[in-house]
């Protein structure tokens, strides 16, 4: 089986192109430590992704505040740096220097551990996310399953956080978060499977590759056109999964003060804050990958495909993020039982119907020669 190229291959290719790879490789081979080179390259990749995630989170928090402001006829952050661009940095510095409070009756270890689990689990989603042609940390053959599985860790850690805080609001927020995540992971998975039926592979790279090309010469072969219902279901499920308005029960401020992180302060709170925005980016990336053609787009001459694909991916992801923020500025929050009602009684049957429709399409239309 041919594996798709990933970022590791890309780095080696770049080193080769500059002509230094053999020298470095030779150096490590002389020492008999070829594996050290592999580790170094992997660490570089990880570092790039982590730095990218942090910068994105900072930018997103700024963007969200600006966006919020624009909708509401105001300016948003202005004083700190040009157009308030340094605002997230100031926030970060401040949160770094805040007192770290652990309530007396809290479960000390779990209370400390929970924010780290949330943050790490969100970062793990970045592994199989194709940012561009061969710009992927690792092309897992079970990529989609991996993403769904990893996102299921988040509610566990939220439950830990809510339970360990020994606060009634935290506990209720945590219980709500778990109920919500469980009921939305199922339609999420079923809709994703409908796409897998078309592709025949769980690998995210394969999913993107299957969306290259055009029907009739101008409609891109994105799954949103084959699966409009699936896309809407997936989008709703993703917003619920992220816990954003209209589904932000875990921290619904007017009801539960600050939900599961009511008792958190300082850096631990910052971890939740970072995880929230990193999650927003990751989930938007997944939506783009599955339904909006990933990094595909018309090629531009003279520019390497790695760069153009990255740009296409970013544009699409930010469009999805924009939509999520736009929706947040507009609608109120639904009630928790209405949310569960929507999840179990409407979305799951529709998702199953959508799966059936996909199977029908694959069997009778696609095999008949459209693809």
């Amino acid at each position: 089986m041919i594996t798709n190229p990933n970022a590791y291959d890309l780095i080696i290719a770049i080193l080769n192109a500059i002509g230094v790879y053999n020298i470095i490789l030779g150096f490590f081979q002389d020492q008999g430590m070829e594996y050290v080179l592999r580790i170094i390259i992997v660490l570089v990749e990880v570092a790039v992704v982590v730095v990218f995630a942090l910068v994105t989170v900072m930018f997103l928090s700024w963007l969200e505040r600006k966006m919020f402001a624009v909708v509401q006829s105001r300016y948003g952050p202005m004083v700190t740096g040009p157009r308030g661009l340094f605002q997230p940095i100031a926030d970060g510095i401040k949160l770094l220097g805040k007192e770290d409070i652990i309530p007396a009756k809290a479960d000390r270890w779990i209370f400390t551990l929970a924010p780290f689990i949330v943050f790490v689990s969100v970062l793990l989603v970045f592994i199989p996310l194709p940012f561009g042609e061969s710009l992927i940390l690792s092309d897992l053959r079970v990529g989609l399953l991996y993403i769904i599985a990893i996102s299921a860790i988040t509610p566990v850690s939220i439950l830990l956080a809510g339970w360990a805080s020994n606060n009634k609001y935290s506990l209720m927020g945590a219980i709500r978060a778990v109920a919500q995540d469980i009921s939305y992971t199922i339609p999420l998975a079923i809709t994703a499977i409908a796409v897998v039926v078309f592709v025949g592979s769980l690998s995210t790279v394969d999913i993107v590759n299957a969306q290259q090309g055009y029907w009739f010469g101008f409609i891109p072969k994105w799954f949103i056109f084959l699966q409009p219902l699936g896309f809407i279901l997936f989008l709703i499920a993703c917003i619920a999964e992220m816990g954003r308005i209209p589904f932000d029960f875990q921290e619904s401020e007017q009801e539960l003060v600050a939900g599961f992180f009511t008792e958190y302060s300082g850096m631990k709170f910052a971890m939740f804050f970072l995880a929230e925005y990193a999650h927003l980016f990751a989930v938007s990336g997944i939506i783009v990958t599955i339904f909006l053609g990933g990094w595909t787009g018309p090629a531009i001459p003279l520019i390497p495909i790695q760069i153009t694909s990255l740009i296409y991916f970013m544009i699409k992801t930010y469009a999805v993020i924009f939509f999520a923020m736009w929706l947040r500025d507009t609608v109120p929050r639904v009630r928790i039982d209405q949310l569960l009602h929507l999840g179990w009684k409407i979305m799951i049957p529709l998702a199953l119907l959508n799966l059936l429709f996909a199977a029908f399409l694959v069997t009778f239309v696609v095999t008949a020669g459209v693809r």
């Binding site: 624009v70 909708v71 006829s73 736009w326 507009t330 609608v331």
Partner: protein, 129 residues
Amino acid sequence: MIGIIKGLIVTMKHILKIGNRKTVTVQYPYERMKVAPRFRGRHAVDEDACIGCGICETTCPNSTITIVKYGTRWFPEFNLGMCLFCGLCVDACPMNALKMTGDYELADYSRESLIYGPERILFKKEVSK
């Protein structure tokens, strides 16, 4: 779904600033709103007109005003930390000596500094010739 889309359109109109939906923020302190002439801010006492009669002191609902000696004459002293800014003292002044200015930048670091004695509120009316 239709209702939500309608709402989304309204917010999009604000994003794109269609119609009269522009940004309304006044960026204090870079720009300031005009303060209305009748605005009830910090007090000011006309040095020449005030006779220190104490009518403002009795009119004040909550004893913000005390009459103190300043130099050789008596003037009111305002504890702005306590003031209602209701303007009853201005209405009651028989000499038209008291007025309220448009000055609102009064925040300070201690409670004592909010007591505005005659040295901070006296002004001399410019005599027009």
